[in-house]
C-alpha cells in the first residue's frame, strides 16, 4: 500500500493514526492491576481536584507512564526511521550507533561513583549518550563526510566496547545496584516523574519536527549520496542533521526509560509496509505508530502478570523478534 505524500494525504494518515493513538490511550487508562470502571477513569480525568484512589491511580500512575510511552515510542521509532535512511541499511536501529550503550555507561557510572540522587542517573545517561554520539561521529567520518559503512562499523564496535565496560562495572557494583541497573538496562517506563515529562516532551517534539524538515532530502538520499548531491541536496548538511537529531532522540529516550529494544528497528519496517517509502508520510506514521505500539506493550507489561509487573523492554523484545522474523519471511528481506 502506498499513498502519494500530498499534504492532504499526510494529514489524513496522521489524523487516523492520532485517533488510533487516542483510542489506545483510553483503553490503556482503563487497564491495570486495579480494576477501575470506565466511569471512574473518566471522572478522574475530568476532575483533577479530588484525591480519591482512582484519581491518584489514573492521573499519577497510569497517565504519566502512558505519556512517557508515547514520547519514547515516537522518539525511538523516528530515530530508527532516520537512521535506516541515513545508513541505507534496513537493520539499523537507534542502538546501532552505540548511543544506548553510552547512556548505560553514564547511568552506571553515576551509580558507581556514589551519585545516589535519583535525578543524577538520567542526566549522566544523557551525557554518556552525547559523548558517544560525538565519538562515533568522529570515527565514522571519512573524507569530510559521513560514510555509511564506516559509521555502522564505528557504531557497532563502540557499542560492543561499551557493553564490555558495562559488564566490567556491573561486577564491581553491589548486588542491590546491579538489580536496579539490570531493570534499567531492560527498559523501564515506571520511574519518570511528571516534572521530567515537561522537559522531555518539548525536546522530543522539537527533535522530531527537526527531522521532518529533512524528510524530502532523505527520500533523495535513498538513491545514494552521489545521486543526491547531483540532484542538489546538501548531503553533508542532511547527513549531519539527521545523525545529530536521531542521536538526540535516542539519547533522550534512553536516559528517560533505559534501552527499550526492537521498537526502533521494527516500526520503520511496519511503517513502510503501511504507507510506503516517502519520508514525508513515513516519519509521522512511524512516530504515531511507535507511540501506539509502546503504549500497548507497556499496558501488557502492567497487566500480564498483575499485580507483578514485567519490564516493558522484555515485552518489546519478546514480541518484536518474532514480528521481525515474520516481516522478513513475508517480504523476502
Amino acid at each position: 500500500m502506498t499513498f502519494r505524500a500530498t499534504p492532504r494525504n499526510v494529514i489524513v494518515v496522521a489524523g487516523v493514526m492520532s485517533l488510533l493513538l487516542a483510542l489506545t490511550v483510553l483503553v490503556s487508562l482503563t487497564l491495570g492491576a486495579v480494576h477501575l470502571p470506565l466511569s471512574q477513569v473518566w471522572a478522574a480525568l475530568a476532575s483533577p481536584g479530588t484525591n480519591s484512589e482512582a484519581t491518584v491511580i489514573v492521573r499519577e500512575i497510569r497517565l504519566p507512564r502512558i505519556l512517557l510511552a508515547i514520547l519514547v515510542g515516537a522518539a525511538l521509532s523516528v530515530a530508527g526511521t532516520g537512521l535506516q535512511a541515513l545508513l541505507r541499511n534496513p537493520l539499523a536501529d537507534p542502538y546501532v550507533l552505540g548511543i544506548s550503550s553510552g547512556a548505560a555507561v553514564g547511568a552506571i557510572f553515576a551509580f558507581w561513583i556514589g551519585g545516589r540522587i535519583a535525578a543524577a542517573s538520567p542526566l549522566a545517561a544523557f551525557i554518556g549518550a552525547m559523548i558517544t554520539m560525538v565519538w562515533v561521529y568522529l570515527l565514522g567520518r571519512h573524507g569530510g563526510r559521513l560514510a555509511s559503512y564506516t559509521l555502522i562499523l564505528a557504531g557497532v564496535i563502540t557499542a560492543s566496547f561499551l557493553s564490555a565496560v558495562i559488564l566490567f562495572m556491573l561486577t564491581l557494583l553491589s548486588t542491590r545496584d546491579v538489580r536496579g541497573i539490570a531493570f534499567w538496562l531492560m527498559g523501564d517506563l515506571s520511574v519518570t516523574p511528571v516534572a521530567e515529562l515537561r522537559i522531555l516532551a518539548p525536546a522530543i517534539i522539537l527533535a522530531i519536527a527537526g527531522l521532518y524538515v529533512f524528510a524530502k532530502d532523505l527520500n533523495v538520499l535513498l538513491l545514494g549520496a552521489e545521486e543526491a548531491a547531483h540532484l542538489g541536496v546538501n548531503v553533508v548538511r542532511v547527513e549531519l542533521g539527521v545523525y545529530i537529531l536521531a542521536s538526540l532522540l535516542t539519547g533522550i529516550a534512553v536516559s528517560a526509560s533505559g534501552a527499550i529494544g526492537y521498537l526502533g528497528l521494527l516500526v520503520p519496517h511496519l511503517g513502510r509496509m503501511l504507507v510506503g517509502n516517502d519520508h514525508r508520510m513515513l516519519l509521522p506514521t512511524a512516530a504515531l505508530g511507535g507511540a501506539i505500539l509502546l503504549v500497548l506493550s507497556d499496558t501488557l507489561a502492567r497487566t500480564a502478570v498483575a499485580p507483578a509487573e514485567l519490564q516493558v523492554g522484555a515485552v518489546t523484545a519478546v514480541a518484536g523478534a518474532p514480528v521481525f522474523i515474520y516481516l522478513l519471511r513475508k517480504t523476502g528481506g
Binding site: R116, I117, T175, V191
Partner: protein, 351 residues
Amino acid sequence: MGARYHERGTVFGRHQPRPRQVCAGLVFFMVTYETHSAQAPSPPFGVNFPSGATVLLCVLAATLSILMPPAAAARTVKDQTGRSVNVPDNPHRLVSLAPNITEIVYALGLGDELVGDTDYCDFPPQAKSKPHVGTMVNPSLERIVALKPDLALGTPEANRRETADLLERLGIPLYGVTANTLAGTLASIEDLGKILGRAAEASSLVAQMQARIDRVENRIEGQPKPRVLFVVWYRPLITVGPSTFIADVIRAAGGIPIGENLKGEWPRLTLEELLPQNPDVILLPKTESFSPSTEEFQTLPGWKDLRAVKERRMFFVSETIERPGPRLVDALEELAGVLHPTLALKTGERQ
C-alpha cells in the same frame, strides 16, 4: 552498611490526609448528612440530629481542626535506611513489601492491620491470602494505592530505590528497616514495634529471641568450630561475604564461614582457593534444581577431595536463614544442631 535507597529528603505527598482535612471532611459529612436526612423520612432509631446539635458539633469540629496542629497525627522520623519518613502515630493499614517484614508484622500481633503483602509472603500461612501487590522488586503501585495504606514497610535488601521514590511521590510513607546481622534483625523488630505502636510486644519477642540466641551461645562454648562453606551458587561457585547476615548466623551457630577474607556480599570463589581452606561442613540452600546431590558432589573433581564431601557433612538448610525475621532463631538453632551434632541442640524451646 550503606543500606540506603537514596539520600534525598522526603517530599511529603499531597495525599496525606492531614487532621485539618479530616476534620473539615467530618464537618462536610455532617452538614450533608443533615441535609439528606432532612429530606428523607426519619430513620426508625432517631439518628437524626436536631439541627442545633449539628451546628454545635460543626463548630466544635471546626474549632478542633483549628486548634489541632497538623503534626498531631503524624511525626517525621528517620528510618533505618536514613530517609526521613512521615509516619502516622497509629498506623492501622499496613502494606509489607518483604516476606521478613510480613513475618514481623504478624509476630507483633498486627496481622489484621496488614492490608497487603507481596507474592512471596508465605509465612504465616494467613499471609498468603492477603491481597498481593506483586513482587518485591517490581510491585504494582496502583495496587498499593488502591489498598489505601497509611504506612508501607520495606527493606533495601529486597526492594528497589525506585519503588521508595515513587511511593514517596504518591504520598505513601515507606518506612525502611535493614538487617545485616542477627543483632540487626532484633533491632529492626524492636524498631518496627515502636513505629507500629507495639513496643511492648516487640520487646518481649526480642527478649525471647535473645534468650534462645544466648542459649545457643552457651551450649556451643568451648566446642570446636567447624569451617563452613555456604554455597549461594554452585557454578560458578559463589559464597557469602563476611558482612552478610548468613555469615553472621553461621558465626553465631559456632562455625567459621569460609570467605571471611573475601570482599563483597556475594564473592566468587575458585576451587583453587577453596581446596586449601578445606571446609568441614557445606551448606546448600533448600532450593530445587540448582545444585548436585551429595552423591554427585562425591564424583566432582576438586569437590570430592574436600573433607566435608568425604565425610558427607553436606546439609540443605531451610530458607529461613535468608529471612531476617522472627524465625531466624529457628534457623540458628537448626544450624547449630547441624554444626554440633553431639549437642542435641535442635530440641528445646521451639515455638
